[in-house]
């Protein structure tokens, strides 16, 4: 039973955590000296290295950080499940790729990144959008194709951007050279920042990935190439697509680190290590994050024709990232069972509220049809519609 003063300070922290979730500003994980630090021991199997040092298996993390991590993962889980329902209700159209099960990746990475670091990923990006500053209402708005969507409803699931997130990209592999370009600009402008370039096990065989590796190493770019390995590229297992599934070694002349991506603290530690690497001017690093998606590749894929239901259930039972962190929180006495339940409730309530808010928004104004094809003020004289009388002038 906690002393009353601790309970009171917890509710204050919970409120702060809720406020942080609603902000679109920096999601800061900086801990204050007054807040208790926990030293959590990671599983000895958490890391595998390739020409680099092993990160420490002891993670120093504040209570606030732990609460933020838990709340963020719970929020993302609820957000993705809500999107699942909205898609089945035909309110979300086209493609929708959910990251249920992979929450530890976006949350663990963000916890060790700064707001000036950049991140780019492919299409399984809702979690990253949230962590990199996208509000829930603007994410739902975009999925629903509404005017308040983060891309004004014009992009959809795969095209969400924030000042810290270069999308959301629909063409497999294309985001990798683009990510190397973000890192190139950071170095060019003399900024002590890192770009995290995310691609999946399916994309890992793309030629442009290796072209990016070469340039990043040649020019010592501050790029961390993150292979988010969830074992399946759509319906094709890693073993059936890749001559080598040691994605952390595929950088050859670029050192690499493989981490258990179902453990948010391990991901945090690996990301911290990667950031220190690039900050120290050691050039690029490959970071393979082993994770798992419970759902299919997209909402049109049941996800059970190329893997067994038993496999999915087994991973859920043994390695769920949210349950995993919950065990650590209880084991290290950071939070009680009740307090964790409250975080779950708050996350659910917040997501539900913002989803309803987004549903009430209208579709984009028709004027949006022809805007932003070109930069405002620098357009072509006119754009044609479907026939000569449909003209959009600038």
């Amino acid at each position: 039973m906690l002393p009353i003063s601790r309970v009171r300070s917890l509710s204050t922290v919970t409120t702060r955590a809720t406020t942080t979730l609603q902000q679109t500003a920096t999601r800061s994980f900086a801990s204050s000296a007054v807040v208790p630090q926990f030293h959590i021991k990671l599983n000895p199997d958490s890391f595998h290295t390739y020409n680099c040092e092993t990160p420490s298996l002891e993670v120093e993390v504040s209570k606030k950080d732990l609460i933020d991590m838990y709340s963020s993962m719970a929020t993302i889980r609820r957000m993705e499940m809500t999107a699942d329902g909205l898609y089945k209700a035909k309110l979300i159209r086209g493609f929708c790729h959910l990251s249920t099960g992979q929450e530890a990746v976006s949350v663990g990475m963000e916890s060790a990144m700064t707001s000036n670091d950049k991140l780019i990923t492919a299409y399984r990006s809702h979690g990253f959008t949230y962590m990199r500053g996208g509000s829930l209402v603007s994410i739902f708005g975009e999925l629903l194709g509404r005017k308040n969507g983060i891309s004004k409803g014009k992009g959809g699931s795969m095209y969400m951007f924030t000042p810290r997130l270069q999308g959301g990209n629909g063409i497999v592999g294309a985001q990798v050279p683009v990510g190397a370009g973000l890192a190139f600009a950071q170095k060019y402008l003399g900024r002590k920042e890192t770009t995290f370039v995310i691609y999946g096990d399916g994309a890992a065989n793309q030629g442009q990935v290796f072209e990016s590796f070469n340039m990043a190493k040649l020019w010592e770019l501050p790029a961390v190439f993150v292979c988010e390995n969830n074992r399946y590229g759509m319906g094709t297992s890693a073993e059936r697509s890749s001559a080598s599934v040691d994605y952390f070694k595929r950088g050859d002349y670029i050192p690499g680190l493989r981490v258990d991506g179902m453990d948010v603290l391990a991901v945090h530690q690996a990301t911290k290590y990667a950031k220190e690497w690039t900050d120290a001017g050691r050039g690029p690093l490959v970071l393979e994050v082993e994770t798992y998606r419970y759902g299919g590749h997209s909402m049109s894929d049941p996800g059970t024709t190329y893997r067994t239901r038993e496999e999915i259930q087994k991973v859920r039972a043994k390695s769920d990232p949210i349950t995993g962190l919950k065990h650590s929180l209880l084991e290290y006495k950071a939070l009680t069972e009740e307090e964790i339940k409250d975080l779950d409730k708050t996350a659910r309530a917040t997501v539900d509220k913002e989803a309803e808010e987004a549903k009430a928004e209208p579709e984009p104004d028709m004027s949006e049809f022809s805007t932003s094809v070109y930069v405002k003020g620098h357009e072509v004289p006119f754009l044609r519609g479907r026939e000569p009388s449909e003209v959009y002038r600038f």
Partner: protein, 375 residues
């Protein structure tokens, strides 16, 4: 073969039906449907027609193989290659990594070496990663080698808009590939088109681009008895007059043919005009003769496509008409109906405005009918 089919359909000999079901389940289902629906004709979806074409050609020629993402174990991202891995095995139905540039180049190389690959792109948008191999390695090599090297490859996949898939997944590539000498380009609309053109493409010793359409895969059409034959091919470069008319010619390809026909029927019902609808079927070579002949009869022409307006299929038709004897027969300028000149938006209200439909076609036709040169 067809007499056996007739027997199986009418007399219901169980062993023949079972054998047919084993050897060609798609055809067996179509025949079953014929008895069940009692419409008097066999119906087949575009998807099943493509599947039939692949199955028949691969049965007839061992050098033909299918390569692409998820074509085998997954049975095809859009189920076009369903059952083919089970029937032909992993040597002939190959699941590739997600590496378009690489596997397209590899397929082209295998064609140079004597095989007959069917290279599938999950959508033609992804083929942009491989366009160098299609244009520079496949299309130009026969010419550059002085005729010494051939590339009997078929590239296929869904092209153009789907529904709600936004800018990077909705582009129509008919104009781009249609401009390349050395390639042939076909764009089927219905099931007969799909089967006949894909078979023709596979049999053609040139590299052929087959532009399918995802939204058409699930649509059912009647299949004539001839179309059910395993030797049914449609000549590449020949358009089809889907509906005869006298007042205006509508030329369309792929999904737009359906909208054109709807508009034509509507306008006829309203007593406004009798429109002639031409299904291009092939983008390259373009059957300009059929169009010229029609324009001489109707004196008016509109084109319909899903692709962007600038430098598009409609633009090419206009130019060729201008340069031909048909110019003297025009009573009004040709009008192109196209996709809008913007990246495809996601939001539904905006996406609806981005592609032509029956309403737009009707509207433009009414306007065109009211014009008269020199009046």
């Amino acid at each position: 073969m067809s007499s056996i089919l007739k027997k199986a359909a009418v007399v219901s000999i169980p062993t023949v039906r079972q054998a047919l079901a084993r050897s060609n389940p798609v055809l067996a289902n179509a025949l079953l449907a014929k008895r069940q629906y009692s419409k008097g004709g066999v119906e087949m979806t575009v998807r099943d027609a493509l599947n039939s074409a692949l199955e028949e050609e691969m049965t007839a020629d061992e050098k033909i193989y299918l390569m692409g993402e998820e074509v085998g174990q997954y049975n095809g991202a859009y189920k076009v290659s369903k059952g083919l891995l089970d029937k032909f095995g992993p040597k002939r139905v190959i699941d590739t990594p997600i590496t378009e540039s690489g596997f397209c180049g590899l397929a082209v190389g295998s064609a140079f070496a004597g095989l007959k690959p069917v290279c599938e792109f999950m959508t033609w948008n992804f083929a942009m990663q491989a366009i160098d191999q299609i244009v520079n390695s496949a299309a130009k090599t026969h010419y550059m080698s002085g005729g010494n090297v051939t590339c009997p490859i078929t590239f296929r996949g869904p092209n153009g808009a789907a529904s709600g898939v936004a800018a990077q997944h909705s582009q129509c590539f008919a104009a781009w590939y249609g401009s390349v000498p050395g390639l042939k380009v076909v764009s089927p609309w219905n099931s007969e088109d799909a089967k006949g053109l894909l078979k023709a493409a596979i049999r053609d010793p040139n590299p052929v681009v087959v532009l399918e359409n995802e939204l058409m895969y699930g649509v059912s059409f009647p299949m004539s008895e001839a179309a059910l034959s395993k030797d049914f091919v449609i000549e590449i470069g020949k358009a089809k007059i889907e509906k005869e008319g006298s007042d205006i010619t509508i030329v369309a390809h792929s999904r737009s043919v359906g909208f054109a026909l709807e508009a034509a029927h509507l306008l006829e019902k309203e007593g406004i005009c009798k429109a002639e609808v031409i299904n291009l079927r092939s983008i390259r070579p373009l059957d300009i003769d059929t169009i010229i002949k029609s324009v001489k009869k109707t004196n008016r022409l509109v084109t319909v496509e899903g692709g962007w307006p600038q430098y598009g299929v409609g633009s090419e038709i206009c130019a060729q008409i201008m340069e031909s004897e048909a110019f003297d027969h025009l009573d009004a300028p040709v009008v192109r109906i196209t996709g809008a000149d913007i990246p495809t938006p996601y939001a539904q209200n905006l996406e609806t405005l981005a592609f032509p439909d029956t309403d737009v076609i009707s509207r433009v036709i009414k306007r065109t009918l009211n014009k008269k040169i020199g009046a």
